[in-house]
Amino acid sequence: MSSRKRTTVWAAAVLIVSMAACVVLLGNIDRIRPRDIVEDSLYINSPKLVRRASLGFDGLMACIYWTRTVQYFGHRHYFRERTYNELAPLLEITTALDPHLVPAYQFGASFLAPAPPNGAGQPKRAIQLMEYGIRNNPDNWHLYYDLGFVYYTELKDYRKAAEVFEAGSKVSDAHPFMKVLAAQMAEHAEDLATARMLWSETYEASNENNIKQNALEHLRGIQVDEDVTNLEQAVARFNANNGRFPTNLWELASAEHLPGVPVDPDGNPYDLTLDGRVQVRHPDDFPFATKGLPPGYKPGPLKFHSKG
């Protein structure tokens, strides 16, 4: 073998071995370094500074920051993390860089407002974000709709929600539904029917798959809440009439003249506990349900469903 060939073989071997070693070592280094340093790093917190540092390329920077925001939220949401420390600063930087980036407000509010693990549990910052968005995009009725939604779903401030829907209904080209919502908030805000109407409208009005998915999950949760409420009322009636809880749901269905055993939106029968509570069989399938959850239930990894 010539000297050059020998060198080539040696160099190629060193290259391959070094490459493999680097991959293994990187894995080790990732394990050693604290996780929050890897995931929770936001280099600059000041929107103004980022805007100036972007040297006029603020549109591109806004897109980069928005992408990073989605990655940050998506990753933590998927693993059902309970902290979203960098979410609000990331959204503030994104919208400061491009105040007309409407999806950042719409999605941002739905990331920020819900309680963990479905969101950051920061409805007040969601409201600040939406108000900033409305100041910069006063002709966009969707922003009023989303702001009203935060007041309605997270803060239960129905008067404020009605005011925002009313203000949004006055924007030119606003959906006629905004007026209906304002009226509904004023009169029947706490009804499950109102919640169902809102989420159904969100599902129908949006072209974004993620928004549709979110609305669908909420609708499924509302269905479970309604079913569990009705069934527990039926159990209470049975108890009042017979002096005991029904032994199973067949007995309850028979007493209430129901056509069959009640099932959840996935077709699985509800469970009846010995103390007369009604529970869903697979709570992880209904991340937004507030009733029918086993005591001490902790949400598992996020699941997605198609419309059925």
């Binding site: 060198t7 160099a11 060193v14 071995v17 680097c22 070592l25 280094i29 990655q71 990753h75």
Partner: protein, 258 residues
């Protein structure tokens, strides 16, 4: 070490220390180190933090600039001046030339870092008046900075083995920037699917991971750096350098120098 590699390394070192650009950059780094004293005084209650951050960043950035600007000319200058032909006409193999050049440049950077470290500690002493045990952590950050320089040197040499000095500088600097965001790149790769995931993961592992070598803010906050991290980072730098150098050797072995 092979004696021929030693000769090439010492010549490279001598040539590098004669370069006026080198002194300008070191002077700038020391100036910035001194300026950190005044910047620190402007801040409230974080004089030490500002000082350590600014000085170590200056050492790192100026060192990277020195590594790139000297490294990219190591091969091309020898070809341009035709001194390479004189060297290779002697019993020196091409791989020995590349490895010798690397050690020469690495030696230059280690000596530079030593002097800049004296500046860092001198300025720190001026601010805090006496050293504490936790100031020793700055040595860990400086050690990681040297590891970073070794990787940069090998990359500059790799690009220099097949490209013009200007393009080599662009490539090396781009890799430095990308490598500084290596964590983000791997995070992005983990969120993708299918073919994109393969490509993104491959790219994420191929670029040097400078983010793991940057412990400046950790050290500035006087937080400890684990011995395991020091060991793994050392091994990583050695293997990455070996990988880039063997790439340079493979290319340079086949390069037509006529």
């Amino acid at each position: 070490m092979n004696a021929r590699i030693g000769y090439i390394a010492s010549n490279t070192f001598r040539e590098a220390v004669r370069d006026r650009v080198l002194y300008n950059l070191i002077a700038f780094a020391l100036l910035l180190s001194g300026a950190a004293i005044f910047v620190g005084q402007l801040s409230i209650d974080i004089e030490r933090l500002v000082g350590v951050n600014l000085r170590l960043t200056a050492v790192s950035l100026f060192g990277v600039v020195i590594a790139i600007f000297i490294g990219i000319g190591l091969v091309s200058k020898e070809i341009e001046k035709r001194t390479l032909y004189t060297v290779l006409s002697r019993p020196v193999r091409r791989w020995e030339f590349i490895v010798g050049k690397f050690f020469g440049l690495a030696g230059t950077l280690v000596v530079n870092t030593f002097f800049m470290a004296i500046g860092v500690f001198g300025a720190l002493l001026y601010v805090v008046h006496k050293f504490t045990a936790s100031d020793g952590l700055i040595l860990v950050a400086l050690y990681f900075i040297i590891l970073e320089f070794l990787i940069i040197c090998s990359l500059a040499l790799l690009f220099s083995s097949f490209s013009s000095p200007l393009l080599s500088a662009v490539f090396a600097f781009s890799l430095f920037v990308i490598g500084s965001f290596a964590d983000d790149l791997r995070g992005f790769a983990s969120l993708t699917h299918g073919f994109t995931r393969w490509i993104a993961t491959g790219a994420a592992y191929l670029v040097p991971n400078f983010s793991a070598l940057n412990v400046i803010s950790v050290v500035a906050h006087q937080q400890p750096v684990s011995g395991q991290l020091i060991l793994q980072n050392t091994l990583y730098a050695v293997f990455y350098t070996a990988m880039a150098l063997s790439g340079a050797v493979l290319i340079f072995e086949r390069r037509n120098l006529k």
